[in-house]
Each structure stands twice: as structure tokens, then as C-alpha cells.
Symmetry: C3
Subunit: 320 residues, 3 copies
């Protein structure tokens, strides 16, 4: 039996690579740990000394100012030293192997790597390599890898749902949009099913759904009106602009007509349904501005909770 | 009556958007607050804990390493956590709206935004938006917007003049160069007239002066020799290289011949006149090296005072 | 007699510009100072307050994420405020002179400049300029200048050799590769000869050796098998990819066949010989993966010791 590489033998969090396979209790523990950090942000001095003297490396092999910023703030509020590395512009150009870069940073006595990479599985590979080279005191946090996973996004989404809905066990949740290319959707589906949400729906055209998606425990809808009916939570996905240029989609206008979240469509959901989006939004593509700025949107609270959840994950890792 | 958006109902500094409309007492208060920070820099440990635990975001929509650096140092010497964001290279590419970016950073519990933007009025717009969205606990500092304003530059210039001349009420000050495109010149003019400088001159060819500039309370000179005669302070402006390619100017050589500040020309000013420049200098274009490095130049003290003035502004904002 | 510009009149370290001319006792003092910092990194909290409140500027006129990162970590572990500046993307574009940039940063009350520059001698020039302008309280650390010197690399290499071999006085050391273009090789040769290593060899084709290299006190070998025989330490050099495109080298395959360090070749050295590389490695060009990952390689310990050596240099400079 292979142990979950994210957990120690004692079941403590060692890395955060994916939500898939993470026990329900661990997800809930992360959400519980995040709660006081949400209030840290409201204190006069937002810093706590939990990671003082620790070196956190933001290793971004793919550019993302927004995600990097959330991790940078979270680490600084924990009093860590933060080093930002945009790897594409440096060693990668000089032809150094990914794992040589990792070895070097490990030799600089890193305590944590926050990794964003265009290739699915890169953070796993790095975590395995650290174990194989005797550096498994270094913790890895996946900040998004290819189409695979974006676990802190999934966790902050769960924090948000719990904040507004309290209980997962009675919910119907719809995920709308480009599920095929979305690491966010995968992390959300694993989190929702693990937490016992009885009905998770995905709403997308066939061309934007991976084959066999039903095996993840979701119900597939191709017509958005059918899919939104009676849901408690609508999770919209960002449409990657680059998909527009391929054959997958006719145009953003067509997409909005068929799948954009408008006030009219949202009216099909429960009256107290909340609307989420991982950002950055394409207004008028996957979501109408009236919805994005409307009373049901919880898109900005997601961002706030995201800092707290990242602080929780880093604090839990830093303490093991 | 509309209140000055930079001040609270109690008249405290809330944002620093422009010097226009800032009361004389407030300008003097900023200069007074800056004085001890100038000496902080000479202490063994240059840090003070006034902004400890606060999150300052440097939002640079236009690249400026030098200005960003001065704000970064000022904030770090106040013990703030500083996050640098070059927005042009990230979300802006992904098509996110400016105000969505602002909303997101506000949701990350920012305490202060230092904003540089190519569009005049962007910091005002952001400050208004923060007020409209209930985020007006976040302070905005304009670090240069389009041709509009660069208030911390104007303030550090006033600090410098006061340092060398003590009293504003007897001075003749000349601003030389490309006033038309210069946010620095606008901020200087508003500061000088507010502080009661009896004669503020602008010296430039007609093509580099905005129409109606006299309404700001300045005297216009087209011939540099006339304009420099008897002045106490010469404030040179940077000539934007990109103006050279348009029809506005024949060549940098021609410009230097007509408006470059040389030792000969400087001799027309008072013997103890000081020479200022906001940097970076184009030696041999708007200023001769002999003047830039001469005994009357106070260009480097301007930089030193600039850190102190930015610390003062940030400390005053952070305390409200 | 001109005094060594790196030392004060009392013989204390004032700048670190090059290893050439640095007294043996000073090199040993730096290595001794580094030793406790190597253990700082293993403590729970890796920070020491030696540079608290000091402003360290990383001035990189040439891009090098790896070297910049090592200095950034070292400075942060000493509790300094660190400002990173990639100068090529900013003022340099606006046409500002190098020394005007330096003057400005000095006026911001910098305490230390860590300088990387493509031109040999740039850090010397800057140190001289600081002295001439009354700013010689600011310390300069050369982080690599053109083909001239990379003194912290040379020092960390000496730390590594001493760690594994204890005594310099009985060693035979071979430096293999592109000596002609390598600032690393120059710093290594000066350090080794100053520390009394009796035999320093360089192994390279004639086209990759500077003329008159023997005058530095080294023995030249063109055949790698001859040069490696009986050595205690093999220092491989990185082959600059850009050299490949010129006429200097036929191809990377040819180079590897003639000069690549393989297990077979390494077997000619002493059985306990260590293998070093400054990184980033070109596997299969100057070094075979079996050697790079083999039991004799000390390439990652070099990185770890590099942080300690940089902390030592910065702490010694910050204390004078």
C-alpha cells in the first residue's frame, strides 16, 4: 500500500499537492486552522511569528502575479522570509534541469517551496525528488500545475462555501464552464465530494468536458438552464482566452450566449444561492457584470479567505 | 460643497493624490513630519516600527524602478510589509479590468496603495472606487499619473527648498523645460504658489507649454536668459526622450543650445541659487554636466529628502 | 604605494572586489567567520540581527536569478532590508549614466551594493566613485563582473575545499574548462595560490585559455587525462552556451568527448578527490551526470557554504 505522499506516517500534513486523496478530516482541519487567520487580518498588526526565520521560495515557472501575491502576503504575515523566483527568465534559459534548480534551492536551506508550473505533476515530481535526496524536511505547496490541481484554490472555495452555507451535507453545487482545461475545477470536485456534498454538477459543452468526468462523482449538464435549477452554489470558471483561438469555441460572444452567467439564469438557482469565481474574471464572457457585482456574488470574500487558507496551510506545514 | 477627497472630515490626510487643493498647513505639516525621518536615516538602525504589520502595495502600471525603489525603502524603514506589483506584465494581459485588480488587492487586506499609472486621474479613480466599495480605510498615494501630478516629488522639492532657503515668502523660482508633458512641473507649481512663493516662473518654448499656464499663477518666459535672471531656485525638468521623435522638438542638440542649463546661464541667477532636477538626468540635454555636478546642485539631497518625505506621508496616512 | 582599495588603513575589509591581492589572513578570516553561519542555517530560526535596519541593494546590471537569490537570502538572514534592482530594464533604458544611478542609490542611504555587471571592473569603478564622492561608508560586493572576478564564488570554493581537505598546503587542484571566459576561474586561481596550494593546474584547449595564464602560477594541461592524474580536487567550469556558436568550439558533443568529466577520467584523480562546479551545470557538456550525482561531487554543499560565506562577507563589511 502506498502512503499518501502529502501526509506523514502520523497523518500530519507534509506537502499540499492535490485535494485528491486528502482525508475529509484534514480538509476540515485546514479550514478550522484558517478561521483565526481570517481575523488576524483585521487586527491592527496583521503579523504572527509562526514562520519567523523560515525561508519560503515562490517558484513560479509560469507567470501569475495574483497567485504569487497571495502566497507572498500569507508568508509575510506569518513572518517568513520570502524569495520570489520567476524561473522562466533565468536558469531555465541557461538550460539547467528543473531538478538541478530544485537541488540548488534546497541547498540554500529552503523551508518551503510554493510551486506553479505549466506541467501537470511538477510539484509531485519535486516532492518525490526531495524525499529521494534526503530533503523531505522541505515542504511543497502546489500553487497550480497544468490542468491537474490548484489545491489552495479548492480549499479557499470550501472555506467560502462553509462560511455562507455552514453545512456541506445538504448542498447542490454547480461548476460552470471550461472544466476540460481547469485545474481549479478538478480541485473543487475532489473537495466537494470528499466533504460529502450530495450533488455536484458540471455544466459545459461537450468540447470543454474531459471524457469520463462522471467517474469523479459529478452529474453532467450541457444546458446551463437545466444545470442551475435549484442549486445552492454556482462556481463559475475562468475561460482561458487562448482557448478562443482554437477550434474548441466559436467566439466569446457565442460562449456568453450559451454559458455566460446572467441574472436571468441565476434566478433559476435557489434565491440565496451564492456565486463564486476564482478570478481573474472575463466580464461578459463567463459572467455578466450585473452578476459579478450583484448581491449574490462572494468573489471578493473568496480572495480574503484565500489569504487565511494559505496562511493555515503554510503554518501547518511549517510546524511539522 | 464637495470635500477635498484627500482629507478626512477632520482635515487629516487620507490620501495623497495631488498637491492641488492641499492646504498650506498640510504641506507644512508633511515637511515638518519628514524632518525627523531625515535623521532616522543617519541612525545606526534606520527602521522605525510605525507601519509594522501593515501591507503596502506598490502598484506600478507604468515601469519606474527608481520611484518604486524610493517608496519601497520608505515603507521598509517604517517596518511595513511591501508587495511590488508590475501590473502591465500580468493581470492586465489577462484582460482584467483595473478596478477588478484593485478590488482583489483590497480584499487581500491592503493598507496602502502606491500607484503609478500612465493615465491622468487613475489614483483619483481608485480612491473614489475604494470609497464607493466601503474600502476607504485603504490609503492611496499617487506616485505619478500621466501628465497630471507627482505629489511626493513636489513635496520633496519643497522640503529641499526650505532646507536651503528657510523661507518661501521672498523667493523667485524658475521651472525650466518641458512643462507641457510634466506631472512634476504641475505639482511643483501648485506647491510653490500654495506656500506663498511670490514669483514662480516657467521657461520653455511655446510648443512645450500648456495653453493657459498663466492661470496657475506663473510668469511665462520663452528666453532662458531672461527667465533665470535673479532667481533663487532653478528647477530643471527632465526632457522625455520620446518627445524628441515627434514634431515638437528639432533635436536634443538644438534643445540644449536653446534651453540647456549651463554655467554661463546659471550665472544670471543669484550667486547662491540652487539647482534642482527630479531625475533621471539627461546630461547634455536639459542640463550640462558642469552644472549637474557643480556646487549649486542639490540634486542628490533631493533624493535623500525624498525618502524622508515619503516616510512622512506614509506614516501620516498609516496613523489615520 | 597604492593601498588595496578593498581594505581600510587598519587592514579591515571595506569592499570585496576581487580575490587578487587579498591577503591570505583575510581570506582565512572570511572562511572562519563563515563557519558559524553555516550552522545558523540549521537552527530553528535562521536569522541573526547583525544587519538589522541596514539597506542592501542588489544591483544586477546582468541577469542572474541564482546569484541574486543567494545574496538576497544571505542578507535577509542577517535581518537587512533588501532591495532588488534589475537595472537593465529601467534607468539604463532611460539613458541615465551608471554613476548617476549609483549616486542616486547612495543618496537613498544605502549601506551596501551587491553588484553584477557584464563589464569587467564596474564594481571597482563604483567603489572608486563612492570614495571620490564622500560615500565610502557604502560597501561594495562584486557579484561577478565580466570576465574579471567572482570573489564570493572563489571564497565559497575555498570554504568547500577546506571543509573536505582541511589543509591547503599539500593539495593538487585542477581547474577544467573554459578558463578564457571565466571570472570564476580567475577568482579560484588567485585564492588557491594565495592560500598556498602547491600545484594548481588548468586543463583546457588552447582556444579556451588566455595567453600568459602561466604567469598566474598555474600549470597548463591540454590533455585532460594528463591533467587529472593524482589531483585532490577537480573544479569544473561551466561552458557558456554562447561560446558554442562562435568559432571557438566545434560542438558540445565534441567538447564533451575531449573535456567532459566522466567517471573514467575521474578515476585518474586520487580516490578521495572531490568534484566541484559553480553551477548551473550543463550535464553532458562539461560534466557527465554520473559524476555530477556521484559520491565524489560536492556541488550542492558548495551552494550551502556559499550562503554562509556571503553572510560572513556582508557581516564583516557591515561591521566596519
Amino acid at each position: 500500500m502506498t502512503r499518501n505522499p502529502q501526509l506523514t506516517a502520523e497523518g500530519e500534513l507534509k506537502h499540499l499537492l492535490t485535494i485528491e486523496g486528502l482525508p475529509c478530516e484534514m480538509i476540515l482541519r485546514i479550514l478550522d486552522t484558517a478561521a483565526p487567520f481570517a481575523s488576524v487580518a483585521e487586527r491592527e498588526v496583521k503579523k504572527v511569528p509562526l514562520l519567523r526565520g523560515k525561508s519560503v521560495f515562490n517558484l513560479f515557472f509560469e507567470n501569475s502575479t495574483r497567485t504569487r501575491t497571495t502566497f507572498e502576503i500569507a508568508a509575510k504575515r506569518l513572518s517568513a522570509d520570502v524569495i520570489n523566483l520567476n524561473i522562466n527568465t533565468s536558469s531555465a534559459n541557461k538550460g539547467e534541469r528543473l531538478l538541478d534548480t530544485v537541488d540548488n534551492l534546497a541547498a540554500m536551506q529552503a523551508d518551503m517551496f510554493v510551486i506553479r508550473h505549466a506541467s501537470s505533476g511538477a510539484p509531485h515530481l519535486i516532492a518525490q525528488h526531495l524525499a529521494a535526496t534526503g530533503c523531505d524536511h522541505i515542504h511543497v505547496v502546489n500553487a497550480g500545475d497544468g490542468r491537474h490541481a490548484h489545491p489552495t484554490q479548492g480549499l479557499l472555495d470550501m472555506y467560502t462555501i462553509r462560511h455562507y452555507k455552514r453545512d456541506f451535507s445538504q448542498l447542490t453545487v454547480a461548476i460552470v464552464g471550461d472544466v476540460l482545461h481547469s485545474r481549479v475545477a478538478r480541485s473543487q470536485i475532489h473537495a466537494l465530494t470528499t466533504l460529502g456534498v450530495p450533488e455536484v454538477r458540471v455544466i459545459a459543452p461537450k468540447t470543454l468536458l474531459p471524457s469520463g468526468i462522471e467517474r469523479l462523482g459529478v452529474r453532467v449538464f450541457h444546458a446551463i438552464d437545466d444545470g442551475l435549477r435549484g442549486v445552492d452554489v454556482v462556481m463559475t470558471l475562468r475561460l482561458q482566452n487562448e482557448r478562443m483561438q482554437g477550434a474548441l469555441l466559436p467566439s466569446t460572444e457565442e460562449y456568453f450566449k450559451a454559458y455566460g452567467l446572467t441574472q436571468e439564469r441565476l434566478a433559476l438557482a435557489k434565491p440565496d444561492a451564492i456565486v463564486m469565481h476564482p478570478g481573474p474574471m472575463n466580464r461578459g464572457v463567463e459572467i455578466d457584470s450585473a452578476v459579478a457585482d450583484g448581491r449574490q456574488a462572494v468573489i471578493l470574500p473568496q480572495v480574503t479567505f484565500g489569504i487565511a487558507v494559505r496562511m493555515a496551510v503554510m503554518a501547518m506545514l511549517g510546524g511539522t
